[in-house]
């Protein structure tokens, strides 16, 4: 009896030991290797409080590297894309921003700034975004009051993280496109670029 119990424990400890050993050993490869593997979540879990055509709610948030950043500081100067991601260190959004980092010239072509926002605090965002290389766009922390900005747009989920959402805002401060994406999926870049194209078309028409 003791022996059987022993074997069970033996198996357990071997598994535990191996788990830790492999966690350490396998940390050499790609970014995603160190990532938390999430289970699929409810695609959308909030109710939007803004719509296309509305004036975008203003905010001021601390950024990882460029001090306090306000939406209003870009008014009249740049179009703005707000990219909300649910939380740091999750695979899909670890993906999303490095892609936008590579697509810098596309944003610039349409005279657009990108603001990345998550509900994480600054130290977490610092560590996380450092793994992505040098980001050309500000990363803002909507940590405290928790998810306040996400909540003002109506994209704070019931568990305290934000949706994976994109807002395209023109130079006058009006929302021109909204994509509250399935949280489990990455929005394709071309869909966003299409909205940026329309932004300039719209502007051409009004001029």
């Amino acid at each position: 009896m003791i022996l059987i119990k022993g074997y069970l424990r033996l198996t357990f400890f071997s598994l535990a030991a191996v788990f830790f050993a492999t966690t350490a050993l396998a940390g050499s490869g790609a970014f995603s290797d160190k990532m938390f593997k999430p289970v699929p979540m409810k695609p959308v879990d909030s109710i939007l409080k803004v719509k296309v055509g509305d004036r975008a709610p203003d905010f001021t948030l601390p950024s990882v590297r460029s001090g306090m950043v306000s939406l209003s500081q870009y008014l009249g100067k740049k179009n703005i894309v707000l990219s909300f991601v649910p939380a740091a260190w999750t695979p899909v959004c670890s993906d999303q921003w490095p892609g936008y980092n590579l697509a810098r010239s596309i944003f610039e072509r349409y005279d657009t700034v990108l603001l990345g926002i998550s509900v994480d605090n600054i130290p977490t965002l610092y560590s996380w975004t450092s793994e992505m290389g040098d980001l050309w766009f500000p990363v803002l922390s909507d940590f405290w009051p928790h998810g306040n900005v996400a909540s003002s747009y109506g994209i704070l989920r019931s568990n305290g993280v934000s949706e994976r959402a994109l807002f395209v805002i023109d130079k006058e401060g009006f929302i021109r496109a909204i994509d509250v994406h399935d949280i489990n999926r990455r929005p394709p870049l071309e869909a966003l670029v299409k909205e940026l194209t329309k932004l300039n078309e719209g502007k051409a028409k009004t001029q």
């Binding site: 033996l10 030991a17 050499s28 790609a30 490095p98 590579l102 697509a103 870049l189």
Partner: protein, 241 residues
């Protein structure tokens, strides 16, 4: 698994127990024993010596068996290994004529990668969104330049990239940014990625192409290091010299 405080080799209090002799009171083996993995001849190994010896042996066997199975799962998931054949998947012929020429594909029907003209095909699984793939891109370009600049290798070693989960547009963004000279194929629905065992990115395969069939001779997650060194390895594996 980690929530098993106070027990076993992973517990933080075992050095404390090392200095006490409480564990020896029964004289029998317990798995809270801090000497679980100690050599069987150690001086504390009294009583139940034989039992302990058996356990050591089995523990190590079990440990390594599980360790290796875990490693193979974690490092590159279920991607096919060296010595195996490349799983079957088809590629859409690129619109660009110079790519068609590079690949040696004449018709416009989807083709198997093993039909590429050459003796070694290097396949990079990448994503435009993956920062490690971004970092690796200049080195892969360099590899391509080294191959094309060497008359002995040009035509024999080919490179293609597969953008896992990337749309055509996203692959183009990657290509334009890094001026990638070799063909990149979008894999938006992850069909190819799935066929290749869903590896993480960047992942490199080198597939030896012979009349007798194809054989994977390199299958690894992560950077291949310096282009010169990797090319030397490829030349060796392809037996091109």
């Amino acid at each position: 698994m980690a929530t098993y405080p106070g027990n076993g080799i992973l517990s933080i209090n075992w050095p404390v127990r090392l200095n006490s002799n409480t564990f020896s009171q029964e004289g029998a083996f317990t798995f809270e024993d801090p000497f679980f993995f100690a050599p069987p001849v150690c001086k504390w190994s009294f009583g139940g010596h034989l039992v302990r010896k058996t356990y050591y042996f089995k523990a190590f066997l079990l440990f390594f068996a599980i360790a290796f199975s875990f490693l193979s799962i974690r490092d590159g998931s279920a991607a096919p290994k060296e010595g195996e054949r490349l799983p079957s998947f088809s590629l859409v012929v690129p619109a660009n004529d110079s790519y068609k020429q590079y690949l040696g594909i004449r018709e416009d029907l989807p083709f198997l990668p093993t039909r590429v003209d050459g003796r070694m095909l290097i396949i990079e699984i990448f994503s435009m969104y993956c920062p490690w793939c971004q970092k690796e891109a200049p080195e892969v370009n360099k590899l391509h330049a080294l191959i094309e600049g060497n008359p002995k290798l040009k035509g024999s070693v080919k490179i293609i990239g597969i953008g896992a989960g990337n749309s055509k547009y996203e692959v183009e963004v990657f290509k334009d940014n890094y001026k990638v000279p070799f063909p990149l194929f979008p894999d938006e629905d992850l069909k190819i990625h799935k066929a290749l065992g869903e590896p993480m990115t960047p992942y490199f395969f080198a597939v030896k192409l012979t009349d007798a069939g194809d054989k994977i001779s390199y299958s690894k997650l992560g950077s291949f290091g310096k282009a010169e060194d990797f090319l030397a390895l490829i030349v060796k594996l392809a037996e091109l010299e």
